[in-house]
């Protein structure tokens, strides 16, 4: 009886065992990377806006406070997108002929809002509140990154749930004194950088964060990682 398989079939059979394992792990790893890639999260991608507004210029260059435009960040769930009138406060006198600002002037003349593209957009099933984060000592920069270094606005972080939980599970690694919340130049305490809070000098973020957790009456980790804290 003739052989029905070539000698190479033995090698192929063994290689296919390894191949299946490699294929499955490869596909799994690729899917996980894909889910975290900017293609899905939009991280580090600056969308095209009606006016190329530069946070770098306005914050680092001119020294505007975050709250000058985002007025409701301390009291409301929503930080607030400024009305065109806020822009016109200055631009009634500055750069009044600039081509780039024409959409702003048009909006002011007609009362039609500028249609900004939302950069930080959480899913609707997430109950998120800016005011509580500001009130408990979470810096703007902790979530939004070095906004004063962004010529065009982009997402610094993925805004995925694992990223939210990363802070909710270990708040002491991120909290800062409340008077530093809006600072873009604040640095966490370290061996060669002291941060003082209520007369005490800290050289460790863990100590500072743990004290702030108590001082600002943050709820327990169990509470702030409970499902219904964010999904109501």
């Amino acid at each position: 009886m003739a052989q029905i398989f070539d000698r190479s079939a033995n090698t192929l059979a063994r290689a296919s065992l390894l191949g299946v394992v490699l294929l499955l792990t490869g596909v799994g790893a690729a899917l996980m990377q894909f889910q975290r890639s900017p293609f899905v999260t939009n991280q580090h991608i600056a969308p095209e806006q009606p006016v190329p507004f530069s946070h770098q210029h306005h914050v680092a260059g001119l020294g505007l406070d975050c709250r000058y435009c985002h007025t409701s960040v301390e009291e409301s769930s929503f930080a607030g997108i400024p009305p065109t009138k806020t822009c016109i406060n200055c631009h009634a006198q500055l750069w009044t002929k600039a081509e780039m600002l024409e959409p702003v002037r048009y909006s002011y003349r007609t009362g039609e809002s500028l249609k900004w593209i939302r950069v930080h957009d959480l899913p609707d099933f997430v109950y998120f509140n800016h005011s509580i984060h500001v009130a408990k000592g979470v810096g703007c920069q902790s979530c939004h990154g070095q906004v004063d270094q962004m010529p065009l606005m982009y997402e610094e972080n993925t805004l995925q749930m694992e990223w939210c939980l990363n802070c909710h599970r270990q708040t002491e690694k991120f909290l800062r004194p409340k008077d530093q919340v809006f600072s873009m130049t604040y640095a966490q305490p370290s061996e060669d950088h002291e941060v003082s809070f209520e007369g005490k000098k800290y050289t460790s973020q863990f100590d500072l964060g743990s004290d702030l957790h108590k001082k600002y009456n943050l709820r327990t980790v169990q509470d702030i990682t409970s499902c219904s804290t964010c999904h109501r």
Partner: protein, 461 residues
């Protein structure tokens, strides 16, 4: 050889029918069983059954497609009965699978040689039944593409895991372990038979296909030695699964505080019920199979009688459990448990309960009679009744406890819809389709194990 030219010959009173019909040799046994697969003339009834079951499989696909489009609202579930057909059907199908594992693993370890004729297709039955069962947890979420991380601990961008303290996640592990071990057991058992098919096939393509499945089996002493070791090891692994899988399924209910569910005897009660319904399914499959393919010499009356005896024994355990359910209601002295007992007997679903008692306790008592145990037709009918009864049992457990819980203001009724029926019916069609494909393309009876039963293979000292 024409079909149905063999008849069951009942031996004289007091003598049990043989495990294998008279006059069989190594050659005839191999040719008859392999002939089903290698024949050029597929019987007409095979096409008829496959055509009908493909149609019903289509109903299943329609029902699932509509479910995915519209959500689980197309089913009858609502508050208070949030668990409906999907859970009933899941428990029913997973229970059916248990007989296959019991036959292949436990009876192997106990050296019950009669198992060899029925173990192969009983194992296939297990795998196909677990597949039907697995469908329900997947689709009952309404969003099966998300169910992957709801059911399995897959690292994900949400940083969340399933609740490991919940029996529902134990269930996922129990059932997937069960499927894996059953599949391996079945696959390893098939290797020597695939080699037989490879060697007797006429065309190169068929020989290549079975050759790949046989994985280079040459039947050397070393092969057999390793094969026996692997088979025994897997049998050892599969044995605890017969008891554990349905125990874990029962914990989905027993670990809750719902009246009628919150009892410690649920695990053994469920396991007995599973084996009861599983052996009924073995009979439902074996009786038409041996009649249609003329396999009465290999699946003899002895096999049917033995299955009937197992059914009688496990059926009595199940009957005892029903009595115990009533007793526990009284013994707990808990008004909610007592109300549950009252609801069973006089509530809106009491008709289901009395049907269940009829199907699972009263009718199976006919199996005490040798006449019933020796009549394939009677056994087939009893097995069908038991199958209905076991489905009703799960319906009674799931629906009756949920529809009336602690607060009368939250009581409600459960009405299943045509989509519930279509899904249940559809899985039956899918199961039948898989089973008939299996009969056609794989050896439905273990050829090499049948050989060991033949007089020729008995070595004289």
């Amino acid at each position: 050889m024409a079909l149905n030219d063999q008849v069951d010959q009942l031996p004289p009173k007091g003598i049990r029918p043989p495990i294998i019909g008279p006059g069989q040799t190594l050659g005839t046994a191999t040719d008859r069983i392999a002939g089903i697969v290698l024949t050029k003339h597929t019987p007409i009834f095979w096409f008829a059954v496959v055509a009908v079951s493909v149609g019903i499989f289509g109903i299943l696909n329609t029902a699932i497609a509509y479910l995915l489009g519209r959500g689980t609202g197309i089913w009858g579930i609502n508050i208070p009965v949030g668990w409906g057909f999907a859970i009933v059907n899941f428990v029913w199908w997973i229970g059916i699978g248990h007989a296959g594992t019991l036959i292949s693993a436990i009876l192997l370890l106990f050296k019950q040689s009669w198992r060899t004729s029925i173990n192969r297709f009983a194992e296939a039955m297990t795998i196909f039944a677990v597949m039907q069962a697995g469908l329900f947890p997947l689709v009952h979420t309404g969003r099966p593409w998300l169910a992957a991380y709801w059911l399995f601990p897959i690292p994900n961008t949400m940083g969340v895991w399933p609740q490991f303290r919940s029996p529902l996640i134990w269930d996922v592990f129990a059932v997937s372990t069960y499927f894996t071990v059953s599949f391996l057991f079945w696959g390893i058992g098939l290797i020597p038979d695939f080699a037989t098919l490879r060697d007797s096939a006429k065309t190169l393509v068929v020989r290549r296909i079975y050759g790949m499945l046989a994985m280079g089996w040459r039947g050397s002493a070393r092969h057999w030695n390793r094969y026996e070791t692997a088979y025994m090891l897997l049998a050892g692994l599969a044995t605890p699964l017969v008891l554990s899988v349905h125990s874990v399924v029962s914990l989905d209910f027993a670990s809750s505080i719902v009246p009628g569910w919150h009892t410690t005897f649920f695990p053994p009660y469920f396991v007995a019920g599973a084996i009861f319904s599983g052996f009924a399914m073995v009979l439902i499959l074996a009786i038409p199979f041996r009649a249609l393919y003329g396999m009465q010499d290999y699946i003899t009356l002895r096999h049917l009688q033995n299955c009937a005896k197992v059914m009688l024994a496990t059926g009595m355990i199940v009957a005892y459990a029903y009595v115990l359910e009533m007793f526990m209601g009284w013994y707990s002295n808990d008004r909610y448990e007592l109300a549950m007992v009252h609801n069973r007997l006089h509530g809106p679903y009491s008709g289901y309960y009395f049907m269940l008692v009829l199907c699972n306790i009263i009718i199976p008592q006919s199996l005490w009679f040798n006449k019933v145990r020796s009549s394939p037709l009677a056994l087939f009918l009893v097995a069908c009744v038991v199958q209905c009864g076991m489905w009703l049992e799960r319906f009674v457990i799931v629906v009756m406890s949920l529809q009336r819980d602690f607060l009368p203001s939250s009581w409600g009724m459960y009405w299943f819809t045509k989509w519930d029926i279509a899904t249940l019916l559809g899985t039956m069609g899918f199961f039948t389709l898989l089973f008939f494909l299996f009969i056609r393309f794989m050896p439905a009876i273990s050829i090499f194990e049948i050989r060991t039963l033949l007089p020729q293979s008995k070595v004289k000292e």
